[in-house]
Symmetry: D2
Subunit: 339 residues, 4 copies
């Protein structure tokens, strides 16, 4: 059974594993204060064309999300998210557990707009309601879609006008930045957001997200907060070594590009066979609408998530490709769908 369940089914890209192996006996300082983390930070700053940012390596996405939101909001402040946002549905109430409401807004395609945000701001006008203070988006979104540069700039503007922090969850940022229709560069994010992260777990690392804090007054004491939430790895150098390898050259982008390329082949075949999609295929997550009979047949050979029913005879499934997805397995899936 080949798995298209997610992009974290395998270990790490061989180059990353090799780096870990070679440095295994080297003694390093704990808690991310080691030379590899420092080198990884330097590579990422270079990529961002910006020196005055703080970079912390965090072990996972939910951890990064709850850490950012709870660190930067006062108790009465809340975060605005698409109602499909990861923080709103798939983190078991992690944000609320730190004391903050998530205002989940219905959207057409999982993407927030200035209009949606403005409407919420007009409604939340006195001290009997929570005070919106942060905008959370994910890129790619939970439906595999991306934000254009123009869209990000418009969100930045509404944040500026309303004194809102702008936070981008980049658990799948690689996939976003390497897809065909993308017009955003990594360094744009250092100008457009206040804080964002570069996902490693879903793009070839064993684990790790590189959290970038851009806004000056968010930087203070962040290490305390990492420690307090249990997010400070003793052997933080393990994440340093991995990001050093990912950003030493263009490995990070190559892995994401491969993932998108594999998805493109799947998407083209599915479309060619006459099937439509629940969300527009752009990156490494695909949501084709297939007949249940076909889904049953595919399930004999492949693992994937059945997302929801469309009607009595059709359902949406989710297919996810990764840095590790082989051309061979993609070919087999295409063949299976075509028979």
């Amino acid at each position: 059974m080949y798995s298209f369940l997610n992009d974290y089914s395998e270990g790490a890209h061989p180059r990353i594993l090799k780096a870990l192996y070679q440095l295994n006996q080297e003694q390093n300082m704990g808690y991310g204060k080691d030379v590899h983390s420092d080198r990884a930070r330097a590579y990422i700053k270079k990529e961002l064309k910006k020196e005055d940012v703080d970079i912390h390596f965090i072990s996972g996405g939910t951890q990064a999300n709850l850490l950012v939101i709870s660190s930067f909001l006062r108790p009465h402040e809340c975060v605005i998210s698409a109602d499909t946002g990861h923080i709103n549905v798939h983190e078991a109430g992690a944000i609320e557990a730190t004391g903050h409401k998530v205002l989940g807004l219905p959207t057409k395609d999982g993407k927030l707009t200035p209009q949606l945000i403005s409407k919420v701001l007009r409604y939340h006008k006195d001290e009997h309601m929570v005070k919106p203070k942060m905008v959370y988006i994910s890129n790619t979104t939970e439906l595999g879609n991306i934000y254009t540069k123009a869209e990000l700039m418009a969100l930045r503007e509404v944040c500026n006008e309303n004194d809102l922090l702008f936070f981008l969850d980049g658990a799948r940022l690689g996939a976003a930045l390497t897809c065909d229709e993308n017009d955003v560069e990594m360094w744009d994010l250092a100008n457009l957001t206040d804080v964002f992260y570069i996902g490693g777990t879903k793009n070839g690392a064993l684990l790790g997200e590189a959290l970038v804090i851009i806004k000056e007054d968010l930087k203070k004491d962040f290490s305390y907060l990492i420690k307090q939430r249990g997010a400070m790895m003793a052997k933080g150098f393990l994440m340093g070594i991995q990001f050093e390898e990912l950003f030493r050259d263009d490995l990070y982008y190559k892995l994401a590009k491969h993932s998108n390329d594999m998805a493109s082949i799947l998407a083209k075949t599915i479309r060619d066979r006459g099937y439509s999609f629940y969300a527009r295929p752009e990156t490494n997550q695909l949501f084709p609408i297939l007949p249940n009979s076909l889904i049953d047949k595919l399930s004999e050979e492949f693992l994937f998530m059945i997302d929801k029913e469309v009607d009595e005879e059709h359902s949406v499934i989710r297919l996810v490709t990764s840095w590790a997805t082989s051309a061979d397995s993609v070919e087999k899936f295409c063949k299976a769908i075509s028979d």
Copy 2:
């Protein structure tokens, strides 16, 4: 500079790294629902001679501590700890951040006793004060000392009598169970505590603590709580693979034993040179009291923590050995202290 700063300065034991390497391309289910985690659980249950326990792999000690305490206490309940306990001083308020008071009791040697606990219980008698509901100990303690079986049994008894949960932090459990004076077996803990963990991060794993929930009514819904605190690793199988390797045979004990052996050599030499210790040397953390001039000299060749001043001319330092400490480096240190 050779480091005796801690027991998490290197990567993983070669056998563990090899296992990760060999299984790297294998597809596994996410979130700890993989076959390796299951096998690791089976090995540990066998070691515990007990089948009806729940085992979850958590990425670090602070994470495990805050997760256990916040999951099992109601809002008004608190945890009793030695005032030197990790949760009381070295977790940046992680427990309080989840809403619970830590009652830190002054102790002679970092170890709780039934007498200390009973005194606290007598004092906390009405609803104007927090209600003690859990006893937290660490074995080895933060000073490197161990609990005897008789001491653990006495704590179990006071917990039974007062409806208290008994939680053992085993971040350095390997060192405790393999030191010369130990009379506790791993399986004793499954009978004596309600929940404890087996530390991997400080005993040869890249990361990971195996949390064992023994008491039946603590088991329910624990996965939700792991997810909510950001402690659910996407690639949970990485911890499964490591614990599978550690408990497939006696590797876990061998690594800890080596760590203690290296410390014994250091301790003997230090004592032979006429120096005393702040805490009795038993395991892989040593707290010798040395002249400041000697400390300065040692600092030229070795990294270690200076713990506190004793008088104007003497200080306590902390030396930590690990599974990776070489006999050669120990010899060099012994020579340096003797010259």
Copy 3:
């Protein structure tokens, strides 16, 4: 300017004030452990035809809501509410501040149904999402509507089937139980809910809500939780005296009935003048849709809240009557709307 802004614009009903005056110099035990609180409890138990309930007096509605929800849920559990529910919109994130998500469901009329709840339960099926554990309703609702006995029984059933706690916010319970179309008795609530409260603040008391805990295993240690949230009044006997007076005879119902009667006169006049309502008028909160020009005119003589725009020329206003609303002021309003 006469105010129809709310039902807490005046002090207390004269009988309550008189009781406070007469008992002013009497010494009483603190924290609700006084004879008046005990007598009030006895009166309420008699009213509920049930002895084995715990009754605590709490100073306000938000306080009572956050206390109940945070005391009875584990960290990963959430509460289901209408999206118009007080806890979801008008408590500044009070519930989330205690760590719990509020699942706010869109409803037709501010009332939850078994269908809505079942749909949510089907969707929340694994540990990546919060776990629904409590149903919260308010009676009257925030739109002034009431639940019928059949509706409450149906909700009880869905709670039983799914192991959910059923919590009724009775900040305006008096208005609900004394309106014409009501078929619920106070004692029904002791059989249908697990916990509910009888609002005093909005029905003639200076302050105070009588919280009734019915389900046995929710009772333990509740005093600790009251204290911890800052909700334990030093002079708790003040609330005891007030509820003693409210339930010594039928004063509680009389005050609420008066409030509804005053609203009925307003509603009839408004309807007779040809205006419609945003929500069906049933109790002491009315939501007529009026022309903006009329609203402007009324604003010269009366205070009321403008709730929302309907179209360019019409808006919804909220009129609230209380135990203190005079027939004279109602007559004046009716005249003003008719001129």
Copy 4:
């Protein structure tokens, strides 16, 4: 049985009750936005000789404490208190429930000193420990003692030097400011602290503490935080009316002075009979050490708390006088102790 249990056994001073009675039918805005609250604020500002402070009326001391501390600290920051401080022992973990550690320091007499604070600051030096950010004191202390102006100035200085907020719990501020040895004026507090409150509950009001926020950047959005913690009274004007009456002239001081005077008579008699005190008698809380046989005898006529055993034959009791304590009852107690 006459009660010396506490200073909140009776209702309100007759002048306060009369004011409530006279204004009972007056319509007022809710949530503290009424004219009486405004007038009370004006009186207090005049008393403080300072206009640019924010004043909020809060229903009780624990409520005020948890509100202040949770509003002004970031998650990793903690508050320093005497270990006898109300927040450390007698609020059922209210501060920790909002996420913050209380560092309770052993003191000689319940009073913090710059030396004690500096020692704690030196120890808390990295991100593995909580970060001290606020100093909490109570005046009078929990043992009935007061801070001199010089002591407060020294604390202010250590706060300034270390960027700490200075918070004074004035639940019994009246007693502190009117005792014989006091050299602090109410307006000094507006220059020396960042935030403090003026206790009403324990000095003649039904309920209410006037919270004064002095430091500019603490003022923002405080109403949201009051609401969120359930501390916003619907009929906030009730507290406004009471503080208006207390500060319209010198009633607040008169009531506190009476309380201290009654205690002085008791203290003198106790001392004259040859008994000593556990804490120096200064205000309305006395802690005499009496023979158990005498305590038994007194218990037949009077209610008071037995604080702790001193030896087999002696115990410390607590006697509290109030604005309502009659000269007659004091005389009776003196007689009883002398017989």
